[in-house]
């Protein structure tokens, strides 16, 4: 799993991510993120990397 920055334009990505959630209820936002996880997971592909990503996200939640 990559921990160093790999997103070409991090701020632009974050801006787009926020924009995608605009006008959505909490439930709709959560649904959107769930779909986003799946689409992104398919870009990554490799199972071990995905498992590492899940673990890292879970750890960061405290």
């Amino acid at each position: 799993m990559k921990s160093v920055s790999n997103i070409a334009d991090a701020d632009a990505f974050y801006e787009a991510w926020i924009a995608a959630h605009e006008g959505l209820s909490d439930a709709e936002s959560a649904d959107l993120d769930a779909r986003l996880v799946l689409v992104l997971a398919n870009q990554v592909g490799e199972l071990q990397v995905l498992l590492d990503c899940i673990a890292a996200a879970r750890r960061a939640g405290g």
Partner: protein
Amino acid sequence: MAAAEVWKFAPEYALPVWPFIAPSDLGARERKRYPVVIAGGGLSGLTLACDLLLRGIEVVVLDEDDTVGVRGASSRGICYAQKSLETFERLGIYEKIRAKGITWSVGRTFSGADEIYSFDLDDESHSEQPPFINLQQFYLEWFLVERIRELDANAIRWRNKVVSVEQGSERAVVAVDTPAGAYALEAEWFVDATGANSRIREELGLDAHASRHTDRWCISDVRFKKPLPVERWTWIDAPFNEGRGVWQHLMADEVWRLDYQMDEHADPESISKPDIAGQRLRAQLGPDVEFEFVWIGPYQYRDHLLDTFRVGRTIFVGDAAHVVCPFGARGGNNGIQDAGNLGWKLALVVEGKAGEALVDSYTAERHAAAVENLRVTSRTARFLAPRSAAEHRMRRAVVALARNHAFARKLANTGRMAQANEYPPSPWAPDGARSLQNVALGSTTVTGMLAGATRFLGLWPGAGDAEVAALDDLARRLPIAVHAVAADCALTRQLGVAPQTLVLVRPDAYVAATLAAPTPASVEAALRRALALEETR
């Protein structure tokens, strides 16, 4: 108010009954010893008995009933997978199954009114047998009983109930009760095929680690005239079942199995009332389709798995050893695979042609398969019955994306169909073992080549006569027959092996080893390993 609909019921199936015949052991002065005694005449027990009889091994099957199937029930298992069908081809009942059953290979998954996923199992099939045939379980058991009776009219002892088992180091003593009195017999190997509620397992004090699932379903087996495709259809969330799952499958005699997911708190008695079940069917089939019930049955899933499938001289097969959720037809088919795995091993051990450790390889391979089946079916169960708002959200995401994105379709999990499990590396198969489909080879097939004596096959693509002849001495000493096959054939295509690679095939049509540059010595070493014989002569 419209008059309440009157529901029709088909007459119950008339199942065959076989007579109790007092066994010669009753009143005999000395306890008789048999090489193999099997308790339980269900799928796994009957398959094993038939397999052993064809290998020339004397078998006794003790069945406490005098018929097949489950009394009062239409059917349990319905889908028989390719590996099972290949086994039945070898046992000589495949043609009957094909003629009576429903051949299919396409499955479709729906969400609401939309198809979101489909598969065609023919795409990966090289076999002479189709990926699946649907057939009521009692027909299959019936065919097996008839075949067994052809081979040995007295092998199955009806209304012979196992009362107790006493384990010794070289045999088990089995106490049996019959309508004509009690007797005991000795078994070099005793096989428990008495199913999920095995009392033998309990008597030996074995913990099967049982657990129950909360998801609740209700089967309606129904006959109707509505032209539906002969495919496996599953709904994740059917509009005609209050947004819950539905399964739709055709069996023999134009009987459809419609399986409805229920509210987990539903009362099993009320959801299986004809009036309630009838309204469910009306909602699915529409107002004008006439139908008749064959059977209605509510159920909940359970699973269990023994730590080992061999304890002393007792061996567990089928549901006595493992039970999983029914998704993907991984119940009955794995009982049949247990039998296919065990039959040749017991035959060669009984005949002294293989080391006794080969019986332990049965546990190593089939326990690993059961663990895999448990994992696969548990994943399906979790997809079909989300346990939290977050899990519902994940499933909604899959369904939403599946409409336009191929990758998401593969995540829709309404059951992963039973396959011949791959076996992990073991002392008997250092590279593991995987099933060889029943491919055509010249004028015969793998199954055809395996028929008759219990022996391995050395299939050698592109080999010359002299090379094969160099293995004649080996074939005289050990159970193997070596055949040259075409350098490019269905075998090499299925396994992806290069010409000149010798493929060592076990009697259960699993590949025990592939030898890239075979010599008589390397073939013998691999064969001895697979037979659990000493490495040195």
